[in-house]
């Protein structure tokens, strides 16, 4: 989250909006967002239809250290201006890869115009 926050000025130049999605409740997310001074929105999706739609939801292991299922895996999704998913990656985001991907996407978009 911090890494995305750091790169927001670059995302802006790439006409990209960052949106966080979590199964946590809005109050928890408000505190989380404030504690990290995040400058992009995080939405609460407690009934995880978004996680399911984007394939980030799972009802099987791996489990968290306390034994609870890790329902919402960490997944980065890039949706282009036409609403098409162009990038999917699990685990910690690779911000340099994401930035390069967005640059190519923007060039592709401008080429089509």
């Amino acid at each position: 989250m911090e890494a995305h926050n750091r790169d927001l000025y670059l995302y802006k130049r790439l006409s990209t909006q960052v949106l966080g999605v979590s199964m946590d409740d809005p109050i928890t997310l408000k505190h989380f967002s404030e504690s990290l001074v995040l400058e992009f929105p995080i939405i609460s999706n407690q009934l995880p239809w978004m996680g399911m739609a984007y394939g980030a939801y799972r009802d099987k292991p791996p489990f968290l250290p306390d034994g609870t299922p890790n329902w919402f895996g960490r997944r980065t999704v890039i949706v282009d201006k036409g609403g098409i998913i162009r990038y999917l990656k699990d685990g910690s985001p690779d911000n340099k890869e994401i930035l390069n991907f967005l640059l190519n996407l923007e060039k592709e978009f401008r080429g089509k115009k």
Partner: protein, 216 residues
């Protein structure tokens, strides 16, 4: 007939294996030796991966380098006399905590995250604006203790504005609660910082140039 076919097959396999061994042996003979991470220069400095030049600390300091992405670019570690955790680390970290691009705001936020997971109750003992290696910077000195784990830490951090981003140099000395801090390690850190040179544009500088070229 069957035996003959089988025999030919074995010979064929042997030929393939021989060829593969030949190829592999060729690789071993002509492969370049991996370059050392640090190459000494005539000016008494070292060049790290052709990216940075700096004064290397003396023998006894182990190089820590980032191999798979993570929290810092490069650093040094020295295990010191005394009970655990007597050691000092210092490093160059190009992605310090926080996202603020304003130096003062970043410094304020940084102090809320730094050593957070260690349980050290950290306090800022000194904070001042200055210039290091030609960059606007904030120098922060911090100290704190964790009575539960019977350890304490003393840190010096430089946050510096480099282009549109903020980079950092960090030194932390760990001691048991009854241990004594030493200045010598911090002197090596200062020499490291004051001698630090960027030999190449970093990813972000290059990326921003690409954005400008693309009219973005």
């Amino acid at each position: 007939m069957n035996q003959k076919v089988k025999f030919t097959g074995i010979l064929g396999t042997a030929a393939v294996i021989a060829a593969m061994i030949g190829i592999l042996a060729g690789c071993a003979t002509f492969a370049e030796k991996p370059k050392p991470a640090m190459v000494p220069t005539e000016r008494g400095m070292v060049v790290f991966l052709e990216k940075y030049e700096f004064k290397q600390p003396p023998a006894g300091w182990a190089l820590m380098k980032n191999v798979e992405g993570g929290d810092f670019e490069l650093g040094f570690l020295r295990m010191e006399k005394g009970d655990f955790p007597s050691q000092t680390t210092f490093m160059y970290d190009d992605l310090p905590y926080g996202g603020q691009r304003d130096l003062e705001k970043r410094a304020q936020y940084y102090c809320t995250r730094f050593l957070f997971n260690s349980g050290i109750d950290l306090r800022v003992t000194q904070r001042e604006k200055m210039q290091i290696i030609g960059l606007d910077a904030v120098a922060i000195s911090m100290e704190g203790e964790n009575p539960n784990r019977k350890e304490k830490a003393k840190s010096k951090v430089y946050l510096a504005k480099k282009g549109n981003r903020i980079i950092s140099f960090v030194c932390t000395q760990w001691r048991p609660l009854n241990g004594t801090y030493g200045q010598e390690a911090f002197d090596h850190f200062e020499a490291f910082v004051q001698s630090f040179k960027f030999l190449k544009k970093d990813f972000y500088e290059t990326f921003e140039e690409e954005l400008t070229k693309a009219g973005l």
